[in-house]
């Protein structure tokens, strides 16, 4: 199973929604959303559509990033109502160093009648409390964020519930610094030996950063399956203009998209085919810039489609 981890911003939720009509078996897909925004209207719409489609989606109920750094009762009440309305959503507790045994008990109590998940982000619980948590019967998935979880805790998680999320995306300070291609992951080939699923932060990266202004360069990050090894690599398609005073964003987007479309045309068995790649080809054909949020969304849709395709053997 594949667990893409994201932060619940509009483009990410739109990517999840786009997957509902991506023409794939979505059984192995469980997006994990750790919200960062106070406004839950996008989340609400996404959950409603996932519910209609029977799509499982994990929602972190105790996020602590960006606008949700401070606990907001209004947000908590809103999300509680959404989770009650949409039973396919999986309430998820983020277990970080600040999480106490009382927090964990309260979470289990409040979600007594349904399957839940735990995101492991470096728990400071003592061994007994940790063991109680990982053995709790209603926990359907234990989603461990690699590098944040001690190996003793990782091994204590039952294999049939353990998901390991890694962050192979090598984030650069500036878009202009992305270059060529690099190895991304081979987790899809071997995760099943030890875990029930694997995940990654796609092209977002685990280090959450709020969006910025107009970029000096536009880049499209697209994963592909290397023909010789079967490993997943990521290729960075960069606009020709990479300075702020050169060209404009629509043109920079088209420069990058043309390179992607050409690569896909030459190496279809590496990139596969999916609605995101079709959309990029249409934008290039029509000289259309769909805005940067849509560019992000399409990259994530391609990422999820490719991961599902390699899991199913379609690619």
């Amino acid at each position: 199973m594949y667990f893409p981890y994201m932060y619940g911003r509009r483009s990410e939720l739109l990517a999840v929604r786009a997957m509902l009509s991506a023409g794939r078996n979505l059984e192995p897909l469980i997006p994990v959303i750790e919200p960062v925004n106070l406004d839950i209207s996008d989340l609400s719409r996404c959950l409603a559509l996932c519910e209609e489609a029977g799509q499982r989606i994990a929602i972190v109920t105790n996020p602590n990033l960006h606008q949700l750094r401070q606990t907001s009762q209004q947000w908590q009440n809103g999300v509680k109502a959404l989770l009650e309305a949409y039973p396919t959503a999986i309430p998820t507790l983020k277990c970080s160093p600040h999480t106490t045994a009382t927090n964990v008990s309260a979470f289990f109590r409040s979600m007594a009648a349904r399957d839940v998940a735990i995101t492991h982000a470096g728990s400071a619980l003592d061994q007994a409390d940790f063991t109680t948590m990982v053995r709790h019967p209603t926990v359907r998935f234990h989603i461990a964020l690699a590098n944040m979880v001690p190996s003793t805790q990782l091994t204590a998680i039952p294999r049939n519930k353990r998901v390991v999320v890694t962050d192979p995306f090598s984030r650069q300070a500036r878009n202009a610094d992305y270059d060529g291609m690099e190895f991304f992951s081979d987790a899809y080939k071997n995760f099943a030996r030890a875990n029930i699923g694997f995940g990654d932060f796609m092209c977002i990266g685990s280090n959450f950063q709020p969006g910025g202004g107009a970029p000096a360069a536009v880049v499209i990050h697209a994963v592909f399956k290397a023909r010789n090894s079967g490993d997943i690599w990521i290729e960075h398609f960069l606009s020709d203009d990479v300075e702020r005073d050169q060209g404009d964003t629509p043109n920079k987007f088209l420069q990058a998209a043309r390179k992607l479309v050409q690569a896909v045309r030459h190496r279809p068995r590496e990139f596969g085919s999916n609605p995101a790649l079709t959309a990029y080809a249409a934008h290039v054909q029509n000289g259309h810039f769909p805005q940067l949020g849509k560019n992000k969304e399409l990259q994530m849709v391609h990422h999820m489609c490719l991961m599902l395709d390699v899991l199913s053997g379609a690619l």
Partner: protein
């Protein structure tokens, strides 16, 4: 006896002249946040029975006398040039405007364009060599504005086409060298990149008439080519007209004119909705709860 404040205290005082503070006042309709920052500086300003309007001006006077940071220069340009020599109904002011690969501190557009690059006594002249060539391609007049003690030095080191102004004690701008006006050095392509999409479409269509509807990915290339073919003089006129329109609308003029003179430059550079502007003005007129 009042002891002179330390530089760190003046730096703290200067914090009240930031966009984030202005945005908070506009959000809360209260100047509490500015008063907190002011009190943190430890600099004594009589606050009793006075609305924030007055203590912002007083704070700027203190900075002007003891700590001439960049904001002091910007406020002086707004006050002396836009509200003094010209009028906000005809002259537009832009702050931190990207020009090529540089960002000019203040630009004023009335019948022509003038760039003001501020070099305080705390700044180095390191970037001037790369900044001025860009400014000379985009503005009819370019000035370095500096401390009186540094004016001679800048007269020696900057391009001789660049004028030098010094900020005197009472906020007057003294001209140590006049800027050379030369429209022929203007690069239309450089101006094009400073314009917003609706601005360059309007400009080009004034000269070439209505253009075909294009996919949004091709618009910039199409209009950029046409704009680049204009003479420097025509391109500059269109550019100045577009830039003037940015802040000479009735609402903006009324808003910046209602601000204390110490906050006008911040008013020009902080994007606020009509409601936020009203709340800001209300917050500046009412005594704060902390006072």
């Amino acid at each position: 006896m009042n002891l002179p404040a330390l530089p760190g205290q003046y730096r703290q005082l200067a914090q009240i002249f930031t966009r984030s503070i202005l945005e908070r006042i506009a959000r809360d309709a209260s100047a509490d946040v500015a008063l907190k920052a002011l009190k943190m500086s430890g600099i004594s300003i009589p606050l009793a029975s006075k609305a924030p309007l007055t203590w912002f001006d007083r704070s700027l006077d203190i900075l002007q006398a003891h700590y001439r940071c960049e904001y002091v220069y910007k406020a002086a340009i707004a006050d002396r040039v836009v509200f003094g020599r010209h009028s906000p109904t005809t002259a537009s002011l832009q702050v931190e405007l990207p020009v090529g690969r540089s960002i000019v501190d203040v630009a004023v557009f009335n019948g022509t364009s003038t760039a003001y690059e501020i070099k305080t006594e705390f700044d180095s002249n390191r970037r001037l060599a790369t900044q001025t060539p860009n400014y000379l391609k985009a503005f009819e007049r370019v000035y370095v504005v500096t401390h009186p003690d540094l004016a001679l030095r800048y007269l020696e080191i900057v391009d001789e086409r660049v004028g030098v102004l010094s900020l005197c004690r009472r906020g007057r701008l003294a001209e140590a060298r006049k800027a050379t006006r030369d429209i022929n050095r203007i690069d239309p392509s450089m101006l094009f990149r400073m314009l917003r999409r609706e601005e360059y479409i309007h400009a080009v269509e004034q000269i070439y008439g209505a253009q075909p509807t294009l996919p949004n990915g091709y618009v910039s290339a199409h209009f950029g080519k046409l704009f680049a073919s204009l003479s420097p003089s025509v391109a500059h006129s269109l550019f100045v007209e577009a830039m003037r329109r940015r802040t000479t609308d009735e609402d903006t003029v009324q808003f910046v004119s209602s601000l204390p003179k110490s906050l006008r430059v911040l008013g020009f550079s902080t994007p606020l909705s009509g409601n936020q502007r009203q709340r800001l003005l209300k917050g500046l007129k009412e005594k704060t709860r902390l006072s």
